[in-house]
């Protein structure tokens, strides 16, 4: 166990030395990784902001209540009383004649509707106190149970559509993140491969004097993980610069809409998660690359 810890310590120190020995190459690789990661990272943050924006919008979802043609006056009064309760912000009665007049005017159907008996029901248009989807559904269900109500129409389509669009965006972010994770593995693997080949002699000699493949691989894995971590930090840098550049224009635009909307930095959890993942993928690329290179060196001997 102590031997194992010592090996880890040695390997880690060796990895830091190797990265430090080629600062330009290390930085360039970190930058390549950083740019790759900042794309899905930036998209993720952008979507988060859209999501927040959608939540903040003064949403005005409406519930339309269509009354039964045979509803009694008592039932109508009961409904009107129910709509005065505190969970309803606003309720407007639309008698069927008014609805028909509006329809005729709007669609230019006056000629057609003139001779007909009015097919439209009396209706209420109601705005609930709370705009959340759950509350909307609850109020709608509640109203639907009242006697004399023929049908409830929940006007939340726009919210559903926005959510659907955001869901596509989120899926896109994960797909993109997956692709760029592969890119990360490739960048790391490529950088490590060059290092393994540059250390061919050391590897051959180490093997002759009793080094296990695990011992040989370990410093390279640390290099990969550290390189990935640096890539993650570089991505953070790229996004910080982008955020700084975008902040003023975004706040200006929000101001024009009378909104106090502004850009927020990622949370600590998100930062830690991204750094952890980049280190992991850097490690993975190194593992694949070293294992393959070791096999080649073994075969070439």
């Amino acid at each position: 166990m102590i031997g194992w810890l010592r090996h880890q310590k040695h390997a880690f120190a060796a990895a830091v030395r190797r990265l430090g020995a080629h600062p330009v190459a290390t930085l360039l690789t970190a930058l390549a990784m950083g740019v790759a990661i900042s794309l899905p990272g930036g998209l993720y943050l952008g979507l988060g902001h859209l999501d927040r924006l959608a939540g903040d919008l003064p949403a005005q979802p409406e519930i339309s209540i269509f009354l039964d043609a045979e509803a009694s006056n008592a039932q109508k009064q009961a409904i009107a009383a129910r709509l005065k309760q505190t969970d309803i912000a606003e309720a407007r009665y639309v008698p069927k004649d008014e609805a028909l007049a509006a329809l005729s005017a709007a669609q230019g159907l006056a000629d057609i509707t003139a001779g007909l008996a009015n097919p439209l029901p009396d209706a209420w248009v109601v705005r609930p106190q709370t705009a959340s989807r759950a509350e909307l559904a609850r109020v709608a269900a509640d109203l639907g149970k009242l006697p004399g109500v023929a049908e409830i129409h929940l006007d939340s389509q726009w919210a559903d559509r926005l959510q659907a669009a955001l869901a596509i965006g989120r899926t896109g972010v994960w797909l993109l993140a997956g692709l760029f994770a592969i890119a990360l593995v490739a960048i790391s693997g490529n950088a490590i491969r060059a290092q393994v080949l540059a250390r061919r002699d050391e590897i051959l000699v180490s093997r002759l004097i009793g080094a296990t493949d695990r011992y040989i691989r370990r410093p390279f894995l640390y290099v990969g993980a550290l390189q990935g971590l640096l890539g993650g930090l570089a991505a953070g840098g790229v996004l910080a610069v982008v955020g700084t550049l975008l902040r003023a224009p975004v706040e200006h635009l929000a101001g024009l809409y009378g909104s106090a909307f502004h850009l927020l930095p990622p949370t600590a959890t998100e930062i830690v998660a991204v750094l952890g993942l980049t280190a992991l993928f850097g490690w993975l690329g190194a593992w694949l690359s070293v294992t393959r290179a070791l096999r080649q060196i073994e075969a070439a001997r």
């Binding site: 010592r6 009793g210 080094a211």
Partner: protein, 220 residues
Amino acid sequence: MISFSQVTKRYPGGHEALSGVNLAIEKGELVFLTGHSGAGKSTLLKLIAAIERPTSGVVSVSGQNVGRLPQRAIPYLRRNIGLIFQDHKLLFDRNVIENVVLPLDIAGLDRRESLKRARAVIDKVGLLKREKANPISLSGGEQQRLCIARALVSRPALLLADEPTGNLDAGYAADIMTMFRDFHQVGTTLVIATHDDRAITALGGRTLQLDHGKVSEAAA
């Protein structure tokens, strides 16, 4: 300690380096392998250290069938064998003491203890003043002694040397042979491939003559 039973080694391309070799080397023995170049001396040493595997026959070291050893067990076999190479196989990206300490790092020893042991061995081969030097700045004889120091630092029970005095002038060669005699006296098993007859007569010991892949016992 070492036994070969009907060992044949044929390299890809058909060259047969060893043909049906039988031999036994006891613990603590000092054995010279002689023979013209290409007689199979290096191959014999490589089979002992599992650097090559026999085409047929059994090579056994300390009771282990080395030819059948799984790949992952080979490093642990090699940690008990000190290897001295004609071309030294030193690493030029690190100084003398870092070269010597490498086997101990690989074995996972405490760093301070490792450095102490490395320094003691470097002192024994007379390179203490050069411990911070890069091996590339050392002379051929010094490089050979450094290679010996690296082979000794893990205190192996078995030392294999392939032409350890091959490129050295007589003075250095005698020094190195004297060192080998000292190790022999403390009980290390040594197998030395050489065509340096002066060394053999100076040290005495058993001599195995290799000729076209066949081994015969030579009179000492």
